[in-house]
Symmetry: C2
Subunit: 418 residues, 2 copies
């Protein structure tokens, strides 16, 4: 079978499976999630063995320690996978809910019912835990899923989906509800992106080149999970002790993730008061600072920031810092250079907080809190499949509720249109 035929038949099987999953009860879906969770725990030895193959290959290829860490599945992480599935099972089932219903003058009752999206294609990079999380969230929302992970995690992904399939075969959820593209050929992705008769949405999670490939080639609607160039703006009327805590947390607590701060903006009125101590603290935390001219006037040994720095997602202990002339320049900078992900203001001034909330065009806009909270779990939405950086369909953290669509239901007594 050619790759094209193989991907097509995966699409057809997924669509058939999706019709079955869509009609299952919450209990039937939850039982399947529980079954997968327990089988993953039972098979942890096998998972670790296959994962070791990926790690060995990654080491041979000389991949970075950080990347190898992302790849690694140990006992603790396998338990977390199962725990995650049980948490997903405990979430409210959105499917079948009638969100609103109204009566028209002609007597028609019109309502909006929550329904599954159908078949979801997920294209992601190294972390094999995404395989399990994504499968769990898609099933909970009544969807089938076709997964395409990174080639460096292929052995781990294969064993995880083998275990999921074996677990599903003992439940009401069809085995083909969760499928993995097992070839690492790029052609498979291109074929997948053309299956608009069978796949309803593609969710790419990864870096610039992955996102670009998907948006360039997909004729299926895409929900992008793209980079986070996040900002904290320290206003002239900020509580500077609070600002220091928030900025440090936003940059240092976990620098390799999309909701970490990449650029610090400081009002010029307090820059010379705030920056020396702040930069000292960052340096103690191992952060390299790149500043504009004004920052370097205040703290002379700071490296100069270039135009590219303002657009850059470092995902590392590097921070660009700019002094701005008040709120308007801060908002302009964020909307122009940012990636519309997560941005914060620290201020005691009510009007400035309100203006910042309204005018910053980002998925998550904060007052007096760290940008690190942009996360389905932290927002109280449950586990997340990722963070959408586009405006269509879902924006910000996406959980079960964002993996659904709606249909209108219309109840009549013989109404016709005049």
């Amino acid at each position: 079978m050619s790759i094209k035929e193989e991907i097509l038949s995966m699409g057809k099987r997924a669509k058939e499976a999706a019709q079955v999953v869509a009609s299952l009860s919450s209990d039937e879906k939850n039982q399947a999630l529980e079954k997968i969770a327990s089988e993953l725990e039972r098979e942890s030895k096998k998972i670790k063995e296959e994962n070791q193959k990926d790690i060995r290959q990654a080491k041979e290829k000389g991949l970075s320690a950080a990347l190898i860490d992302r790849l690694t599945l140990n006992d603790k992480r396998i338990v977390q996978l199962s725990k995650g599935l049980r948490e997903i099972a405990s979430l409210e089932d959105p499917i079948g809910k009638i969100e609103s219903m109204w009566r028209r003058p002609n007597g028609l009752l019109i309502g909006k019912m929550v329904v599954p999206l159908g078949v979801i294609g997920i294209i992601y990079e190294s972390r094999p835990n995404v395989t399990v999380d994504a499968a769990g969230l898609c099933l909970k929302a009544g969807n089938a899923v076709i997964l395409r992970g990174g080639s460096e995690a292929i052995n781990s992904n294969c064993v995880l989906v083998d275990i999921i399939s074996s677990a599903l075969s003992k439940t009401k959820v069809p085995v083909f509800s969760v499928q993995l593209i097992r070839t690492t050929s790029r052609e498979a992705v291109k074929e997948m992106l053309r299956l608009d008769d069978y796949i309803d949405v593609i969710i790419p999670r990864g870096g610039e080149s992955l996102i670009r490939t998907v948006t360039e080639n997909s004729i299926i609607p895409v929900i992008k999970h793209y980079k986070g160039v996040c900002h904290v703006f320290v206003d002239a009327e900020a509580d500077l002790a609070m600002a220091e805590k928030i900025c440090f947390n936003a940059k240092v607590q976990r620098p390799g993730v999309c909701n970490a701060m990449e650029t610090l903006l400081v009002d010029k009125k307090i820059a010379s008061t705030f920056l020396p101590a702040m930069i000292r603290k960052f340096r103690e935390g191992g952060v390299e600072i790149r500043g504009d001219e004004e920052v370097r006037r205040i703290v002379p040994d700071v490296k100069p920031a270039t135009e590219e720095d303002w657009f850059c997602e470092y995902l590392d202990l590097i921070l660009s810092v700019k002094v701005v002339d008040g709120l308007d320049e801060a908002i302009w900078h964020i909307n122009f250079y940012g990636s519309h992900h997560s941005d914060a203001i620290v201020t005691k001034n009510y009007s400035k907080a309100k203006k910042f909330l309204q005018e910053v065009d980002s998925a998550a806009v904060y007052v007096n809190a760290s940008t690190r909270f942009t996360d389905g779990g932290e927002f109280g939405m449950g586990a997340e499949i990722g963070i959408s950086t586009q405006k269509l369909h879902a924006r910000g953290p996406m959980s079960v509720g964002e993996l659904t669509s709606r249909k209108f239901i219309i109840l009549g007594d013989g109404q016709i249109r005049e």
Copy 2:
């Protein structure tokens, strides 16, 4: 300036304008809509003159009477355009609404705020009234819009947008909030579809080839407005008099629109009772019937339907008719051959109605009413920009509320992530 540069500069101007429109008050937007409405009425002579040029060219090209009718703007239709804008002004302004807000254990208040989508690109075919309706709906929801109409309506579209621009120049809404691509070159569309830095969503309204071109070439998220292959299923337990009224209305009342019935499905238990009179009535209404074998056994002079008929959107007084073996086959047929637009069951049986509502995978699913009601106005949502046939973002009739996105707002007191 090359076409590429021209389209790029339209995109940039639209994005700047969108930032202004997004921050206007409801009153400021409504005053602009009222201004456009009154200027259109005042300039009706000029509109008719330009429209006549399009009609003359259409006649020279030998376009059909139906198409020329769609192109035509007369006094009555111009008044309707203004009336439509005033209706849009009277709709509730969705922007700035906080749909829900909740408190996390750490004290963070998290809310979802309705915001504009940003810049909307609309690509449509012949009817010039779309130019005004789309501009009005986009502005009401705080967006800027770039319009690309059909070449056959170019003179009408140009004069309409000239009047809109002139009206806007006397209001708080920036003139570049509504722009028209004035070249009829196809290159302009291709360039438009690549402006993902400036356009947030593309809405194509039209036939198969337009939709195909857009989905193949767009790197911007698309909301498809595609065809309606709509069904009515007459169940064995239907009120046959009601069924006859609904079927006749769904097919004949306005056959050229997407929510008209294209295929009639009849349960075999009542086929020989129901079909002879129903087909007679359709024929009196000028409808050509194409039937499967069973239909032709009951009414021998019916033309045979081919496999292609079941997929076909006639948009004309033609109807395919099939006898099915109960509800399951009807649902299967609708989900397999239909376009997931609008489908109805006529039945007195509660369980069958419930099953049909749950299992038919369409934007609008009806019990005991004509499919012709699928329309923003008829659903009580106000004027519509079209009917989405995809599952992402918006499905079914799209009005002002569907031309918006959301952002999370997070209000803290210095919270950091541990």
